[in-house]
Amino acid sequence: MTPPATVSPSRLTHLQRLEAESIQIMREVVAECERPVMLYSVGKDSAAMLHVAMKAFYPAKPPFPLLHVDTGWKFRAMIELRDKLVKQLGVELLVHMNPEGIARGVNPFTHGSAVHTDVMKTQGLKQALEKWGFDAAFGGARRDEEKSRAKERIFSFRSDQHRWDPKNQRPELWRLFNARKHKGESVRVFPMSNWTELDIWQYIYLENIPIVPLYLAAERPVVMRDGTLIMVDDDRMPLLPGEKPMMRKVRFRTLGCYPLTGAIESNADTLPLIIQEMLLTKSSERQGRVIDHDQSASMEKKKQEGYF
């Protein structure tokens, strides 16, 4: 990625510029915050973000741990890749699962996606940040994901209650970030803000970054539920009367909790084919996320509550 011996000085490519910008943001947080952490969801955006972090601090390891807020319902392939990568890269991983949620047996089937996400993800994240006293958390969100994110700052400040106060965000000029905060306050930092979905894929392709195989098409057991193809990833998934898992060649555009993530039928089993499919596709990325279909779940509201 970084140009070889013959740099044409005036012509850094858009990916080189994006990478350099993300590195600068990460280093700034490490220099100015006391206890940063990188939220790591194992998805493609996290994969690209982690790769940039490895570059930003090389030859040192990233001077912060990764935090995976597990819900207990992630695809098994995600956990496998996570554990393999952590070992391979020699980075520290913290895993948190909301103990209250576990005690109450919260799951997406009986509680619905909204409750499950709130308890296991939003509350779980807050608990984890408090438990380890993190004052800065990197997230992989991008501004192109949807209209309401277009105006998001790169440094997004949260009160000591983790609330996002949209009226109290700071202007960001040049490459200057004001990371100062009071005790108890924290900041969510989005170093990949200016990347698009295509940029992320292209970067993963060029840099040969490991991703969860579920992004690539393969024969997988699925059921059709409410118009969405849901993969039967383990035997905890209760089948409705008449439902019978069928093998289909499918892949996923986004990854989360398997009962909440819709698959698409596809033959794209290489990275270039995925990118091709994405470029030719006719629907936007978040469509596969069941969570966005829940009516009261506007991103704005979720953000104020502490969901990314």
Partner: protein
């Protein structure tokens, strides 16, 4: 998102290869909704095929429901979505949109709203390499056009596109277009904008956006998209002298010490000589380290890690520069300041200043003038309010390396941060260093503080007593000084009232006057500590910010903040000088505790509760604390 290229379908790998070599252009669009700005951006997204079918379906139905185009597709709806957010009171300074064509990726800064326009536009323009200034062909050059252009010029954007929009509503008239362009060029020349490309467009109909217009055969220049795709952005940063603000020192083990940062201008090769600033020490670059292998050479825009041949003292905030044309080093500047906070600028109050990777303490003088952004007229001003732009002298507590903003945005642009709310309150541009500061170097004298203190056999420090009038500050300070004297210590009690009679007799009791009063007191105390004395300062000093300023003048361990705590009711009942009575009668304005606030210290070194302890007990506690801190250890 059916991209424009057929290559995607035919040969995706070839497409990816070409996409990999795309460049990036960041631009800002200036204009209001009335000028058709949202429509234009929506049209650019649409024409570059960045709209998905589900979004398109939503757009079609929204256009019928709430569109302003009589059921036709209303492109503005693609980017607006901001009205609802405004109603919720969400501050939007800049929205960023992304699109790409086969040649380039684009990041558009869109600054909505009229009310906060200056603040928003300055923020958006700070990151832009090109500005698209929109003009409604029916209205021509308006006040707001001049305002936008002034900010574009101020923020140093050299490439300007004048997009004369709504040409369909003026019958695609060449005369109208030519007249507007001529008017604009006359004005633009005056404010130093030279590189202007004018394009007649219709955002609504798509004329000269992605495709050349068939309705304006008289226009032979490029369509807007074609221009954006091919315009050469002057890469003067690549040819400018090397500048590398050190962001982070990378020390994974004892064998490696690297300086991580982003090259903000110029280039560097391994073996090149560098100078670290402000120290002025020189060394050579031994390696340019990246995870992808060492580079022989790195250029502006790249984030790298440098190692040096010599173990010179370099830390975060320093600037590494080429030795041939290093930046200047100074601590006082003439600057342009754009105020971005509700609370106005307070001359004399310390703010954090962040420039590059350096944070320092800054105080600003009263503005020399402010600028009316509509007329560019210079107006007298005592302060700057939200959205006001003015020219101010600024002083730092330390010298920094800098370049004038006009030659380098990253080493000449700064933000100001409120020290208590932590809010970013202003953006600023350095023009020149003030000569007086450059010529008066801090003299590193042979006889120094340590030598003077050693002669007295003591460790100098300042005891800063803060508290309400009547809390007992002076009485306690008096007693502490007597004790210290009896131990053979060299002291001085700097009394607030006495200083008001002499050094500070020109100051009043307004907030500004008080800020300056404290600044001078702190400076005097600092000189006395430098002389080796233990200085006692009983002084109401009601504002945290100014006490913080005072603290900042001393070395760690030298400043003892002593909170002489008495509730207002108790202090008022004591009223030794009869001042509370006067204040209550309204004869004394701005009296702390009555009509001016007292901000209690958050973490004082010593807190004295004067409702429980006598003056003697309080003095004993202070002496004990000094003993523990090693201040009284010595040969006596």
């Amino acid at each position: 998102m059916s991209h424009v290229s057929d290559l995607i379908e035919k040969d995706i790998e070839a497409y990816l290869h070409s996409h990999q070599h795309k460049s990036l252009l960041r631009f800002i669009t200036c204009g209001s909704v009335d000028d058709g700005k949202s429509t234009l951006i929506g049209r650019l997204l649409y024409d570059s095929k960045m709209i998905f079918e589900d979004q398109m379906a939503a757009l079609e139905s929204d256009s019928k429901k709430v569109g302003t185009q009589g059921g036709e597709i209303d492109f503005a709806l693609l980017v607006d979505g901001l009205a609802a957010e405004r109603e919720q009171g969400i501050t939007i300074d800049v929205a960023y949109r992304f699109f790409s064509t086969d040649k380039r990726k684009f990041i558009v800064a869109d600054t909505p709203g009229h009310e906060q326009y200056t603040r928003n536009m300055v923020t958006g323009a700070s990151g832009a390499e090109l500005a698209v200034i929109l003009i409604d062909a029916r209205k021509g050059v308006l006040t707001q056009t001049r305002r936008h252009s002034f900010i574009v010029s101020l923020l140093g954007i050299r490439n300007v596109v004048l997009a004369v929009n709504k040409m369909d509503l003026v019958g695609f008239s060449k005369e109208t277009f030519d007249k507007i362009v001529a008017d604009y060029r006359t004005f633009a020349n005056r404010i130093g904008l030279a590189d202007i490309v004018a394009i007649p467009i219709s955002g609504l109909r798509g004329d000269n956006i992605a495709q050349p217009s068939t309705s304006m055969p008289w226009y032979t220049g490029p369509a807007l998209m074609a221009h954006l795709e091919t315009v050469e952005i002057e890469d003067r940063l690549q040819h400018a002298p090397f500048r590398f603000p050190v962001q982070w020192v990378n020390r994974p083990n004892l064998d490696f010490r690297g300086f991580a940062g982003t090259i903000v201008s110029g280039s560097i090769g391994s073996g090149d000589k560098i100078r670290a600033l402000p120290s002025g020490r020189e060394s050579r670059v031994t390696r340019i380290v990246t995870m992808d292998g060492d580079l022989p050479r790195a250029v502006a825009g790249q984030s790298v890690t440098l190692t040096l041949a010599d173990e010179i003292d370099v830390s975060r905030g320093d600037v590494l520069a080429g030795t041939e044309s290093p930046p200047e080093v100074a601590d006082q500047f003439e600057t342009t300041v754009i105020w971005m906070a509700d609370e106005p600028l307070m001359p004399g109050r310390p703010y954090w200043l962040k420039i590059g990777t350096r944070t320092a303490t800054a105080t600003l003088a009263e503005p020399k003038h402010k600028i009316n952004v509509n007329t560019m007229e210079k107006l007298p001003a005592a302060t700057l309010a939200l959205n006001e732009i003015g020219v101010c002298n600024l002083a730092l507590d330390r010298a920094i390396a800098f370049d004038p903003y006009a030659s380098n945005r990253d080493t000449g642009g700064f933000i100001l941060i409120d020290r208590f709310t932590n809010a970013t309150v202003a953006a600023g541009l350095i023009h020149v260093a003030l000569r007086k500061a450059q010529n008066i170097h801090w003299q590193a004298l042979d006889v120094n503080k340590a030598a003077r203190a050693a002669l007295k056999g003591q460790k100098p420090c300042v005891l800063w007593f803060t508290g309400l009038s009547g809390s007992g500050k002076t009485a306690i300070a008096n007693l502490v000084e007597k004790r210290l004297l009896s131990f053979g210590r060299h002291t001085y009690l700097l009394d607030g009232d006495n200083v008001r009679h002499g050094l500070n007799q020109d100051l009043d009791f307004t907030e500004t006057g008080r800020v300056e009063n404290i600044r001078r007191m702190a400076q005097v105390a600092s000189l006395m500590v430098d002389a080796g004395l233990i200085v006692l300062v009983p002084f109401i000093s009601p504002f945290r910010a100014e006490r913080q300023l005072a603290r900042g003048l001393f070395e760690p361990g030298e400043f003892f903040e002593i909170h002489v705590d008495a509730p207002l009711a108790v202090a008022e009942a004591r009223d030794p000088k009869g001042l509370y009575r006067k204040a209550r009668r309204g004869e004394l304005k701005n009296f702390t505790g009555i009509d001016s606030p007292y901000e209690a210290p958050e973490k004082p070194e010593i807190t004295l509760d004067t409702t429980r302890n006598t003056v003697t007990e309080s003095a004993d506690r202070i002496v004990e604390a000094l003993r523990k801190a090693g201040i009284l250890a010595g040969s006596h």
